[in-house]
């Protein structure tokens, strides 16, 4: 804002450059000596002043257009990273962040863990209550995950459909299991309101910890396998990868 104010000042009062000052002196001298060219000199100085003012204005307007482009770029970047329904990271960006986290863990020999979460019987929510209710359930799930005591460094992503993932930097599988269990319990008791009626959903969660030599796919696959194990053993539970 201060920067913008400064811009405005610069437009309304063009900088008195040396040249302009010199020209004004010339006008004064011409007038004092009753020089017949005085009106012409005055006109030239007026034009020069206008040009200077115009120049400043064009520069400042161009800056504004450039800032506008920068804002659009930022918005575009955000859109390219975000799942429009839930507002959390989309798969692509989640994988990018996870890749960086893995590099860090590899270099410094630090632990990190991931959970993969899949909603139970989500298809039946869509079939019986409609897709809008399903969408509401997905949004509600994201709120529950965010409200389950994640740290600032933890990050969430929507992997696709009703499958989500959370990455826990600097966390071994025991820590991640605790966080996953908290998410599962909070979700189980969270009422989802849609069109005046309320319903509940549960999730099956798999957790895995990064191991030296892992690729991203390997860590996620293990969490995925653990999630299927949670499904197979009755849903609404958390399983740790083998």
């Amino acid at each position: 804002m201060t920067e913008e104010l400064r811009h405005t000042e610069r437009i309304s009062e063009p900088r008195e450059d040396e040249e302009l000052k010199e020209m004004r002196d010339l006008v004064e001298r011409a007038a004092n000596t009753a020089n017949p060219l005085t009106p012409d000199i005055e006109r030239l100085v007026k034009n020069h002043t206008k040009l200077l003012r115009r120049f400043n204005k064009i520069v400042s307007l161009s800056d504004s257009y450039q800032s506008q482009l920068r804002d659009f770029n930022l918005r575009l970047e955000l859109m390219a990273h975000t799942d429009p329904l839930t507002g959390i990271n989309n798969r692509g960006y989640f994988m990018e962040l996870l890749g960086m986290e893995m590099e860090r863990a590899k270099r410094y020999g630090r632990p990190f863990s991931v959970l993969v979460l899949d909603l139970d019987h989500f298809k039946s929510v869509n079939d019986t209550r409609g897709h809008a209710a399903g969408d509401e359930a997905l949004r509600s799930l994201c709120q529950v995950i965010k409200g389950s005591g994640l740290r600032n460094s933890d990050f969430i992503g929507r992997l696709g459909g009703e499958e989500f993932a959370v990455a826990f930097p600097e966390t071994d599988c025991n820590g991640a299991m605790g966080a996953a269990e908290k998410v599962r319990m909070n979700l189980e008791k969270s009422e989802i309101l849609h069109n005046g009626s309320a319903f509940f959903i549960t999730a099956s969660i798999g957790v895995s910890e990064y191991r030296v030599g892992d690729t991203l796919e390997m860590v996620l696959n293990r969490a995925d396998q653990a999630m299927y194990q949670a499904k197979a053993s009755g849903r609404n539970r958390v399983c740790l990868s083998e």
Binding site: E4, I11, I58, V59, Y65, Q68
Partner: protein, 125 residues
């Protein structure tokens, strides 16, 4: 006085003229590689039009301009200002983007440069 309509491209606005209302429309974004070449025929047409018409309204909805287009916009406004001094009813309707907080302020910066009627209105969606 024929006006050749310019179709919009990804870097240039559409430019058209409605003789019934004596309104020149410039709509879109403006960052041609050479703005002076692009706007030269428009300014030349405008100069003639302003000697023949009792009045002319410029209806402009340009959400992005590069520096040279900005310079051309001022040239167009100067041409209209000069005609206004001769009694031609020059007017501008400048349409700004409601979504963009800078857009209105920028319209005001343009308005400061003329003495003839210059109204600022939001672009209708």
């Amino acid at each position: 006085m024929e006006f050749i309509t310019l179709e919009p491209t990804s870097a240039t606005p559409s430019i058209s003229y409605n003789p019934a209302t004596q309104t020149l429309y410039i709509i879109g974004e403006s960052y041609p590689e050479n703005s002076f070449d692009f706007y030269a025929p428009v300014i030349s047409w405008l100069r003639t039009a302003l000697t023949e018409l009792p009045g002319l309204t410029l209806d402009i909805a340009v959400t992005y301009m590069n520096s040279s287009s900005t310079k051309c916009a001022f040239d167009i406004m100067d041409t209209m200002e000069e005609a206004y001094g001769r009694g031609v009813k020059s007017a501008i309707i400048w349409r700004y983007d409601r979504e963009n907080p800078r857009s209105y302020e920028m319209a005001e910066d343009f308005r400061e440069e003329v003495t003839f009627p210059f109204v600022i209105e939001a672009i209708e969606e």
